[in-house]
């Protein structure tokens, strides 16, 4: 038989049982639709994160750390002692060390992590937050996406960049109008000479107050846009000020209670610094050189690799859920085809009597199931796309109310579209194996006697 004849036969036979074919194909449509939209969701998330990383230029950044107490807490016994020894061998992250890093070939920029707690007052509202200090050059780069205004032009400017969400939390919803306005920033200070750890008990019990407030007035020069994806980045605060200005401020540079107990010698150390390399190709070399200085490193590119593995697991999980729907659809195909064979028992006998080979009978059944698979695949793809678009619209409406820019949660790459149709045909063909074998085994003598 010719391929065109098989196709014509399969359409003719499927047309004979319109309702059953429609219901069976609909099962496949739902299965493929579910599978496609789930994989498209996984793809969409992955693309959004990768895009965000690229836009922020995070692939060019390496985070550099000195030793960490937090890591030691996970270790016990000899392992803990060994780790403590390792920590002692690690170099501190001070200005001298930052200068060393700047000299490494391929390093474009190095700036330390400076964060401190403060109370901000604006629009007659107060809010507690962490302030991050950054060099002007970093603020002028792709790291900060501005909704309004500009980045500060010098490291010593009395300027401040505040996030759109922080403004909203202070009931100020017009970012453009915030630019140029003044904002009060109150830091906590303490006389470290008179402070000792025993005082904590009295602070906690409310019997003493050893902190003093220091107020500063800043001018808002820019409003940063909310990130599309709230993943890890170098910007970790809603309020950013120039690093030079920060250095002149009286403040507790404490990000944890541990900082209170640091030795005087370590007070000048930063817990973290960010290193920008001129090109992604230099990442590995620069990382090695920094590690040779006794520091620990973390590259966002490495993190993406880990995230990709996570996404693969998520895709596999979503794929498994979609496969449940496909399995049910397969059972529907098997049921439909077996019923069809029983109904066409005599017809199969006639086919064999006039010279059809077993392989012809098998191929006719396979073409019928492949047709169901093809239609289910194409319409399932359309169905999955439509459902995804509806979900996308609803999700974006909810996110828009929170000021989050439009995010395309689903992605339909060409391989997913083509793969969905091919997979549907393949799965349908596998569902046709049993009915095809059963049809080929029909005994023409018995079938021709069949009523």
């Amino acid at each position: 038989m010719r391929a065109a004849d098989y196709i014509e036969q399969s359409f003719t036979n499927l047309r004979k049982m319109k309702l059953r074919t429609f219901l069976t194909t609909f099962g496949v449509i739902i299965g493929i639709g579910a599978l496609v939209s789930m994989i498209a969701f996984g793809q969409g998330m992955q693309e959004n994160i990768t895009k965000e990383f690229k836009e922020l230029g995070l692939f060019n950044y390496i985070s550099v750390f000195s030793g960490s107490e937090g890591e030691m807490n996970h270790r016990r016994g000899p392992q803990r002692r060994h780790f403590r020894q390792q920590q002692e061998d690690l170099a501190g992250l001070d200005e001298k060390m930052l200068e060393e890093i700047r000299r490494i070939r391929g390093v474009e920029r190095v700036f330390p992590e400076v964060r401190f707690p403060a109370m901000i007052r604006f629009n007659n509202k107060e809010n507690f937050t962490y302030i991050q200090a950054l060099p002007a050059v970093a603020c002028q780069s792709e790291l900060i996406k501005l909704k309004a205004g500009t980045a500060f032009d010098s490291n010593d400017a009395n300027a401040l960049i505040i996030s759109e969400s922080m403004l909203e939390s202070m009931d100020f919803n017009e970012p453009q109008n915030a630019v140029g306005q003044q904002i009060e920033l109150a830091t906590l200070t303490i006389d470290s000479n008179s402070f000792n750890p025993a005082m904590i008990t009295s602070i906690v019990s409310g019997q003493g107050n050893f902190f003093e407030k220091e107020s500063y007035i800043f001018t808002i020069v820019g409003v940063s846009r909310r990130s599309d994806f709230g993943g890890p980045g170098l910007l970790r605060s809603d309020v950013i000020i120039p690093i030079g200005t920060s250095n002149k401020m009286k403040k507790l540079s404490a990000t944890s209670i541990r900082d209170f107990f640091e030795s005087e010698e370590n007070q000048n150390n930063y817990s973290m610094a960010s290193v920008k390399v001129s090109s992604v190709e230099h990442i590995e070399d620069v990382k090695q050189r920094i590690e040779q200085l006794g520091l620990r490193t973390f590259a966002f590119a490495d993190m993406l690799e880990g995230m990709k593995k996570g996404f693969m697991l998520m895709d596999m999980f979503l794929f498994s859920i979609g496969m449940i729907a496909i399995t049910v659809a397969c059972l529907g195909i098997i049921n439909t085809m077996v019923m069809s064979i029983l109904e066409r028992y005599r017809e199969i006998g006639i086919m064999k009597a006039v010279g059809a080979a077993d392989s012809d009978v098998k191929k006719i059944i396979f073409f019928e199931t492949a047709t169901i698979g093809f239609l289910g695949g194409v319409f399932g793809l359309v169905f999955g796309w439509l459902v995804s678009m509806i979900i996308n619209v609803v999700v974006n409406q909810i996110l828009a109310r929170r000021g989050v820019p439009y995010v395309n949660c689903f992605s339909f790459p060409w391989w997913l579209c083509l793969g969905a149709v091919l997979f549907s045909i393949l799965v349908s063909l596998s569902a046709g194996i049993y009915p095809a074998i059963r049809a080929a085994k029909v005994d023409p003598v018995v079938a021709l006697r069949h009523d």
């Binding site: 064999k352 009597a353 010279g355 080979a357 012809d360 003598v445 021709l448």
Partner: protein, 233 residues
């Protein structure tokens, strides 16, 4: 091949069925030879083994023992693939209940066997129309079986059986479901095909009058055995 050449030959043809521990012989040692261009009637009461004999000759079933030789080839020794080709090209079969495909038109039913011979759709239609013309049903070519009379359906079935130009036409009680007038017309058509196209026909029938009127040879079966073989004309 001359008219006297033997086209179909069976030697000790036996077909046994097993039910539990018991064995039933549907056919037992049937030996027969049919020359090319002859019209043979196989008669016998119900259960005498006529249909079993026809199924074996048609390559639809396999004998338990004995041999079938058609045009010098041992049908009984053929594998599945060879039997399929034998059914496709060497024999045409007509049944009592017509066995037409109800969803197809007369034209599509006649052209149906050509589907398995890789014949194009256009050529199938052309040859099927030609064949329908031969059996006098051109005007009914686009009708489905349910829209045709019993006689017309059987003529469509004959046209289908002949579409691949077989060497033998096997007819299993082709007039069994027809009234006497229509049965006579079908028998006349078969006799004409036999005479005009030198087509070898082996037909099962239990209608003595029609057999005597139209066929040339008779073989009578009883309990799976040949009890009489004679030439009428």
């Amino acid at each position: 091949m001359t008219e006297t050449t033997c086209l179909v030959e069976t030697q000790g043809l036996t077909k046994a069925y097993t039910s539990g521990r018991r064995q039933f012989f549907a056919l037992s040692g049937v030996t027969l030879s049919v020359k090319k261009g002859r019209f043979l009637a196989v008669t016998g009461v119900s259960g005498s083994g006529k249909s079993t004999f026809m199924n074996l000759l048609g390559g639809l079933d396999r004998p338990t023992s004995g041999s079938i030789i058609v045009d010098g080839k041992y049908i009984s020794k053929m594998d599945k693939k060879e039997l399929t080709l034998y059914r496709r090209h060497q024999v045409g079969m007509v049944f009592q209940s017509f066995n037409l495909i109800s969803s197809y038109t007369a034209l599509e039913n006649v052209g149906f066997p050509l589907l398995f011979s890789d014949v194009s759709r256009k050529e199938r239609s052309r040859r099927a129309a030609q064949m329908l013309d031969k059996v006098g049903l051109t005007s009914r070519s686009n009708h489905r079986p349910s829209e045709l009379s019993g006689g017309e359906q059987q003529r469509v079935a004959v046209a289908r059986a002949l579409i691949n130009k077989p060497k033998i036409l096997l007819a299993d009680e082709p007039t069994g479901n027809l009234d006497s007038k229509t049965a006579g017309q079908i028998m006349q058509m078969l006799a004409d095909l036999n005479r005009n196209q030198n087509l070898t026909i082996i037909m099962i029938s239990h209608e003595e009058n029609l057999v005597r009127q139209f066929t040339q040879d008779i073989m009578r079966l009883q309990d799976g055995k040949v009890i009489e073989q004679k030439t009428i004309r």
